[in-house]
Amino acid sequence: QKVSVEMLDHLEHLALVDFRDSEGVERLQKAIQFADQLHEVNTDGVEPMDSVLEDRCLYLREDDVTEGNCTKELLDNAREKVEEYFVAPPGNIPLPKLEERDTFLQGS
């Protein structure tokens, strides 16, 4: 079954990455088809595995400050900044709806 345009739009929204063209959509369809092979495997009673180190205790260090004070180095890599702030464009503006956006998905 094919992925709906609404789903594609939803994914573009979540990922903030676009499909760019029909090839991108094809790629997703193929990826889903490929992943469906997983359902051939019987996993009854099997626990999901998060980490191969699951039998070990995670290392916890003391809550002491051991490094930091590198504001200048960190800000050096940012393009837009003001004093010690990273500057972002206004945040409470949602991405335009599918109909209004400049995306190839509109044509689908």
């Binding site: 789903m7 990455v17 626990e47 980490s51 191969v52 837009e80 945040g91």
Partner: protein, 526 residues
């Protein structure tokens, strides 16, 4: 000392005895990098800083106080490890021009021991790929394409065709590192391994490629692909050198909570002579569709080698092997979707000029910064992580992962010490042929023999074994038990000694290395 010498046994001794200086070594490597530029193995060559490091090393040797065996040794690092003062790009527009404020732990460890960092090597964008062909700086060329061995076997298809179109890929994604080691421009290189990215190019480039146990070497500073599977990889020209590098890099890092806390003791490899107590497992599922008859024969020959030497060789089964690629596909894309979320243009990396809103700036930045492969994986990953798909795909894949890991546990518990498998399905493909299929298809095909070890977190190593009919390297893989690198490398070293893999005969190296110091095995340069 010659550039093709072995690190521990020859170059280090030569440095200590003053027969060669770190500056000389560094200059020779830099010159060779220049003359092998067509390989496109390096993204950034840090000439100035490397020479400075070499000078400092030389001072230490003069005072009789070298920092260790690695002092003055030229090495290269894959461009997905953070390095201070040297661009770290991950072969992506997203990080072009990015200069990290910190060194990855493994890089820092090498520098602390006096190693000379020559530069950053080329890779597939964000380490996604199995050819080292999909980065913004172009594909890496396998040095063997220019070897006497390959050229002799090459039948030009047409009168006008020259070696320009015949060159073969390095494999990937650590192709630049593998090519750098293979062409003698450095003595060792760091790669990364998530699905085979160190072992695959090692096999195609005829070098040793070690994937350590997950949790042994720090990932702090390695730009992550799949947090639960990534490991730094080690590429060298012999097993002893790999053990040496491992000794310098392994151990708990407080900055990486996924490194184990057990004490790690660096080791020297014994010269194994008696393999009669060894049990070698041959997993039948690794006789995968597409495995070339050549490699199958080589694998069989290797098994016989162990048998004839007195080892116990048994066929074993890892029944879920064929699902490891599908499992990987889901887990990898899911983790990628999460890991790539940090690239939004705000704190570092590329930032779009789009300024209408935060979201549109993020979207435009990511549109401009990522290639198709990366974007494709992010979108797939997001699909598998949707609420309605989470159980069906992501959790399901995690369950299958446990089954794959359990397969290995069962086999090791039954008394098998080491598994012997092929590393790749075929020898290196010509670039023009390789690019006929897309990245995902290629990765799915090429990772099939290497991926499961990442799934289970086990150590694995590629050992160059023989040349194919086309004159290209073919390697075999050994997979060991968790944290049993010493045993794995000991067996690998024994095998390496038995097969006596031929040295690459490259015109460029011959020119650079004439006269000075030939080591015993160099029949090819006589």
């Amino acid at each position: 000392a010659a550039l093709k010498d072995r690190l521990r046994s020859q170059v280090s001794a030569a440095l200590k005895e003053g027969r060669v200086t770190p500056t000389e070594l560094c200059q020779r490597c830099l010159a060779l990098i220049k003359s092998t530029k067509f390989l496109n193995a390096y993204i950034t060559v840090a000439e100035e800083s490397a020479l400075k490091q070499a000078e400092e090393s030389e001072e230490r040797y003069k005072r009789g106080q070298p920092l260790g065996v690695l002092d003055g040794i030229p090495i290269a690092v894959k461009d997905n490890f953070n390095t201070v003062g040297i661009e770290t790009t991950c072969a992506s527009n997203m990080l072009k021009g990015y200069i990290s404020p910190y060194n990855a732990t493994v890089v820092q460890k090498l520098l602390d021991q006096g190693a000379v960092l020559l530069g950053k090597t080329n890779l597939d964008e964000f380490a996604m790929g199995s050819g080292s062909t999909d980065g913004i700086f172009g594909p890496v060329r396998n040095p063997w394409s220019y070897s006497k061995q390959y050229k002799e076997k090459c039948v030009p298809k047409s009168h006008s065709e020259d070696e320009e179109s015949n060159w073969v890929i390095t494999g990937g994604s650590s192709g630049g590192s593998a090519a750098a080691v293979s062409s003698f421009t450095c003595f060792a290189a760091l790669g990364s391994d998530t699905g085979g990215s160190t072992r695959n190019p090692a096999a195609h480039c005829g070098v040793v490629g070690l994937k350590p146990t997950y949790g042994l070497i720090s990932r702090h500073g390695l730009i992550p692909l799949v947090n639960s599977m990534d490991v730094p990889g080690i590429l060298t020209r012999c097993v002893d050198d790999a053990a040496l590098l491992l000794g310098s890099l392994a151990g708990h890092d407080p900055k990486d909570s996924t490194t184990i806390q057990d004490d790690f003791k660096p080791f020297e490899l014994p010269n194994l002579t008696d393999v009669s107590k060894l049990s070698i497992g041959i997993p039948k599922e690794y006789h995968a569709p597409g495995l070339s008859s050549e490699i199958l024969a080589l694998w069989s020959k290797a098994a016989d080698l162990f048998k004839n030497a007195g080892a116990k060789v048994v066929e074993v089964s890892l029944p879920h092997t064929r699902y490891s690629i599908v499992c990987y596909h889901v887990l990898c894309t899911a983790e990628v979707a999460s890991n790539m979320a940090r690239f939004d243009g705000l704190e570092y990396g590329h930032r779009s000029d789009m300024n209408e809103s935060t979201e549109s700036m993020y979207a435009a930045t990511r549109r401009e910064g990522f290639n198709d492969v990366v974007r494709g994986r992010i979108l797939s990953g997001n699909y598998f992580l949707l609420k309605e798909n989470y159980e069906k795909y992501f959790v399901k894949a995690q369950k299958v992962r446990r089954l794959i890991a359990n397969d290995f546990m069962k086999v090791f518990r039954s008394g098998v010490d080491i598994l012997l498998t092929p590393t790749t399905l075929t020898d290196a493909a010509p670039y023009t042929e390789f690019i006929q299929e897309d990245n995902r298809t290629r990765s799915a095909q090429d990772d099939i023999l290497t991926q499961a070890a990442n799934m289970a977190g086990l150590p694995a190593i590629n050992i160059p074994t023989a040349l194919s009919e086309r004159g290209l390297p073919v390697g075999l893989q050994f997979i060991g038990r968790s944290f049993q690198e010493k045993q794995l490398l000991t067996v690998a070293k024994w095998f390496e000694k038995q097969v006596q893999f031929p040295m690459i005969q490259l015109e460029e190296v011959k020119r650079h290395d004439n006269g000075v110091f030939q080591h015993q095995k160099s029949a090819s340069f006589s």
